[in-house]
Amino acid sequence: MSSLRRRLSPYFLLGPGTIWLVVFFVVPLYFMAKLSLESGTVGSLEFDWNWSNYSEALSEYDTQFVRSFVYAGAATLLALVIAYPLAYAIAFKAGRWRNVMLFAVVAPFFTTYLIRTIAWETILSDESPVTEFLHAVGLAPSGHILATSWAVIAGLTYNFLPFMILPIYASLERIDVRLIEAGKDLYASAAQTFLRVTLPLSAPGVVAGTLLTFIPAAGDYVNAQFLGGAGNRMIGNVIQSLYLSQADYPSAAALSFVLMALIMIAVVVYIRFAGSEALMGEDTV
């Protein structure tokens, strides 16, 4: 292969995809930025560096921002607690059942997102066996779970659980078994081995999983719409309402940017704290 062709071939391969992503991802963000600085109503919008859209967005919807991050954080935490044992079981204890269990993890993806969430409406309905059971054991003080923040958090946890399980599983599965055996030799108890060998080695997976869960959850609105009640609306609901119902595009655009900025800050802080280059996939063959 000629040297020039060799030099250019990555660009040919990369070209179409990069152009698509730049034109339809990067550029729209620019346009949304433009929209966020306009004022007026539909049919007569004007660009006039209207920064008040941002300040108004922040002051008017601060409750929803906080709420979204709280719900997303709670859901991420819950997902982590639920996902880790399962990922561990699949990686180390499943044997023949491994593929079946992986299937079970991925299966919820195969049903439409909306229908899954609506199924939870039925499961968590006030008079369903599940709700009555939870009420009986004291986990539902006000008698109903649906239309409360807990239902929304439960929905978020469920819908993003596979995003938490799979990365953790992937990194657990990669662990060289001999390291764990060595750990068992060195440390007295299984718990110690886990804490000092397994857990740290699975850290990249945990980091990836928490990010892949938290980020979409923070911007979600479907769960709040179907499972939440009055006072459970997230920032995603507001953005959707402003765009599609009220057609207040400038405010909606400003809100979207604020959301993105806040998430990015949270992510950067988190990555700094957790530290993981493996996320970016820097490996080559």
Partner: protein, 389 residues
């Protein structure tokens, strides 16, 4: 594989990408066509008029709300007229549908549709923006003949030049007779015994006036302060958990599953709900209901307006309308349907929900009209902030 994040080549590559993106963006903006009408001057338009072209034929596309027509009318119309109809049930909210269509309407197109069915207040807005066509009355003899008297001369379209009512309805309370037998007024929904089991409608022009009414204020004479006071009351109930949630039609879900025992709801739905749960019934609030209408309109740029008028005319024939009334159970705008139904189903013909008597609706109010655009904006914004929690 950890390299310095400050690698100058990497930064300049990033800059190159951003510059390319920005150039592309500006280029696209320049060659793109006029921003789809959401930017710019907001000019007013001349109203255009439908030009009838002989007998109806060809294709017709209609946009309507879901479950708002029976199963026989469209096939029968197609057989009788030879027009091929595409009936799309894609209207779930007045605002959302309008916002979807607005970029097209701004450019004089209707997205291939020839009839929309939208609420009074929405069509008024569209008419002001010049998005609707005036009818040629020659194509609507049945409408002229059969429109019920009470709907013939509304303030916003005194001669029914550009609207033809599709159905009317009443907003009141739907209660579960077993679990909430004592709910007789919208104000009863604020009682603490129903905490967390009550849904309110997310329509500002129905929910807030009802609350005003049950507090003794006439919506037609309400000041902005009255509106805000009612909204405050609703907000308080939402914050305390009294109101379970704000819904559109999905209050039906809560009622049938027992999650809600009383809601603000629409008369036509109640009859349908009773099939699922006979304990549910619609009640006229003691302070009266809200009356509303949804109208058929022909947008500008509509293909085949001749067929559109033919369809409008067709559904105003009492026999045809009787089929629709039987299925949707809303208040029919067509005279003579009662007699037709009396022969088929005497029970249905006596139903106050479909054929409300004047005394039944004596305390009811029509959809309120805001005194100014500022007032409208303020009220809508305040109510939306309650909806958004």
């Amino acid at each position: 594989m950890v390299s310095s994040k400050k690698d100058p080549r990497r930064i300049s590559a990033l800059v190159a990408v951003l510059v390319a993106a920005a150039t592309l963006a500006l280029g696209l903006a320049a060659c793109g066509g006029g921003g789809g009408g959401i930017e710019g001057g907001g000019e007013e338009r001349e109203a255009s008029k439908v030009k009838l072209e002989g007998k109806a034929s060809g294709d017709l596309t209609i946009s309507n709300w879901p479950l708002y027509i029976d199963k026989k009318t469209i096939p029968n119309f197609e057989k009788e007229s030879g027009v091929s109809v595409k009936y799309i049930e894609d209207i779930n909210s007045n605002e959302e549908f309008f916002n979807k269509m607005q970029p097209l309407l701004g450019q004089g197109e209707s997205g291939g549709r020839s009839i929309f069915v939208l609420a009074d207040y929405q069509v008024v807005k569209m008419h002001k923006l010049g998005y609707l066509q005036e009818f040629d009355k020659a194509g609507l003899p049945e409408v002229e003949k059969n429109l019920v008297a009470s709907l013939q001369h509304p303030a916003f379209d005194p001669n029914r030049d550009w609207t033809a009512p599709w159905q009317s309805g009443m907003t009141g309370v739907i209660v579960n007779k077993e679990t909430a037998p004592d709910v007789k007024s919208v104000c009863d929904l604020f009682e603490s015994q129903y905490k967390g089991k009550v849904d309110f409608l997310n329509e500002v022009r129905e929910t807030v006036p009802l609350v005003m009414k049950c507090e003794g204020v006439n919506p037609d004479e309400a000041t902005e302060a009255d509106w805000m006071k009612a909204i405050e009351k609703i907000k308080g109930a939402a914050d305390s958990g009294q109101i379970r949630r704000f819904t559109g039609n999905d209050y039906a879900r809560d009622l049938t599953s027992g999650d809600a025992v009383a809601v603000i709801g629409w008369s036509g739905d109640a009859v349908q709900l009773q099939e699922d749960n006979p304990d549910l019934e619609w009640r006229m609030p003691t302070e009266g209901c809200m009356l509303w209408s949804e109208d058929m309109v022909i947008p500008i740029g509509a293909p085949n307006p001749t067929a559109a008028e033919a369809f409008m005319n067709y559904v105003y024939e009492p026999e045809v309308q009787a089929n629709i009334a039987e299925y949707v159970n809303y208040v029919t705008p067509v005279e003579g349907v009662k007699e037709v139904l009396a022969k088929r189903d005497p029970e249905l013909a006596k139903n106050q929900l479909i054929f409300p008597s004047a005394s039944f609706t004596k305390n009811c109010s029509a959809t309120p009209v805001f005194k100014s655009e500022e007032e409208e904006q303020k009220v809508i914004k305040a109510f939306d902030s309650v909806l958004n929690g």
